[in-house]
């Protein structure tokens, strides 16, 4: 199992978001968390990334508890949060280089331009990020995935601000990653069609009675 979320509970702003929540993500699997704003999509990704801690329960990545992973987290997953973490006063190229350096992803120089071409960023690689549109910023952020060597990707609203072509490219990227043995946990507020992806509707999940939760054994059943 690539990722296991075991009976976690979490409250935010005095509101219970997850209670006895379970999730299992296998190799080559895409799981999409769908829900309205405030249903806990980002919180769940933050929990997996270890940014916040659950009140109860545990999380395992590659059969290791998150506490055992410790400072090696960047070797286990690549997380693209909602905020793009791009520096306005750096160019696209500098931002990507900066990210590869701190995330420990290495690449060959000849591949750099090839990878930037995927989202049509090669021609504008020397442009400051402050001069980019929201969609272009998102593309820079998604380009990080092309440089990532991790098998588990955590993506928070990856399609926000993208045009149709870029959405298609992102979906293609996601599918090809899974075909190569990668796993993806993706949060999105729109129900997009992605081949072979399993979906979890967080809005509906909230309505499931506690009794049903206790009887729960698979997402398919829900």
């Amino acid at each position: 199992m690539v990722l296991e979320i075991l009976s976690i509970s979490l409250s935010r702003n005095k509101r219970l978001i997850f209670e006895d929540f379970n999730l299992k993500l296998k190799k080559s699997q895409i799981m999409i968390l769908i829900g309205d704003n405030g249903t806990g999509k980002t919180s769940l990704l933050d929990l997996v990334a270890g940014v916040i801690k659950p009140e109860s329960g545990s999380i395992k990545i590659n059969n290791l508890f998150l506490s055992q992973v410790g400072s090696n987290k960047r070797k286990f997953f690549t997380y693209l949060p909602h905020k793009d973490s791009l520096k306005d006063n750096l160019t696209i190229e500098e931002n990507i280089m900066n990210w590869t350096n701190i995330s420990g992803n290495k690449f060959e120089d000849q591949n750099f331009c090839k990878l930037l071409k995927y989202f049509n960023l090669l021609e504008i690689k020397d442009v400051l990020v402050s001069n980019l549109s929201q969609g272009q910023r998102k593309k820079v952020s998604l380009t990080k995935l092309l440089f990532s060597t991790n098998s588990l990707w955590l993506l928070d609203e990856p399609f926000n601000g993208l045009d149709k072509t870029s959405i298609r490219k992102t979906i293609r990227l996601i599918i090809s990653h899974c075909k190569n043995g990668g796993s993806i946990l993706l949060a999105n507020h729109i129900n997009l069609r992605i081949k072979n992806a399993k979906k979890i509707f967080l809005n509906r999940l909230k309505k499931i009675s506690k009794k049903e939760k206790l009887d729960f054994d698979s997402w398919e059943k829900i």
């Binding site: 940014v51 916040i52 987290k73 520096k87 701190i102």
Partner: protein, 216 residues
């Protein structure tokens, strides 16, 4: 650990080099604030040299507090502070690297600006080395406290005045001992080193706790 430290340090240096506005705004704020004091003191030149040291410290303190937001708040706003955390970088390491780079960006230019500014205020050049050594010794503590204060302002979200009220007492001992350079018999240098040795673990621990709280 050392590799992580070097990576973070390289990142902070790269970002600071590209962000010229930090150094520019700091230098301009520092010089203009000192110049305002020159005009505010009036034509009586006798009192000015005695007031130069406190004035420099007050201006330096406010400059550091002003600039510390660039190092912490901007990283928080664009999500890179959170990014560093989920990449597995130790919070203490993040704060240490930021303070080292901030020290280099702010204090080293200050050492050049202070002798120039001392000419405006008729300050005795013989007292300059003492003042500069005091700044070198006290500034790491000031920077660490200012960075924690900046983190604190993110955590508080609403009331930034409260941040100053809570953090202000921590600046007081540093200012007291660093302004006492005229008395050659005192051990202010050693005291400042002592204050730094206390400030370092306390502010790194406080910084780690606040950074963890920010994401909640």
């Amino acid at each position: 650990m050392i590799t992580d430290f070097l990576k973070l340090l390289e990142r902070e240096i790269n970002l600071s080099i590209k962000n010229h506005s930090v150094l520019f705004s700091f230098s301009v704020f520092f010089v203009i604030s000192l110049l305002i004091f020159v005009f505010a003191f009036g034509p009586n030149l006798d009192d000015i040299p005695n007031l130069y040291t406190p004035v420099v410290w007050v201006v330096l303190l406010f400059s550091i507090m002003l600039i510390s937001d660039n190092f912490i708040h901007n990283d928080y706003l664009d999500g890179s502070l959170k990014e560093l955390q989920f990449l597995g970088y130790n919070e203490e390491l993040i704060l240490s690297c930021k303070s080292i780079v901030m020290w280099g960006i702010i204090i080293l230019p200050t050492l050049f600006l202070i002798p120039i500014c001392s000419l405006f205020l008729n300050f005795k050049l013989l007292d300059l080395p003492n003042l500069l050594i005091n700044i070198l010794l006290a500034s790491p503590s000031l920077i660490l406290i200012a960075l924690v204060s900046s983190l604190f302002s993110i955590q508080l979200k609403r009331n930034r005045i409260l941040q100053f009220v809570i953090i202000f007492p921590f600046f007081v001992p540093i200012i007291i001992f660093s302004t006492s350079i005229n008395n050659s018999q005192n051990n202010s240098f050693l005291i400042l080193i002592g204050i730094f040795l206390v400030t370092l673990p306390v502010s790194l621990t406080a910084g780690r706790l606040i950074m963890k709280e920010i994401n909640k």
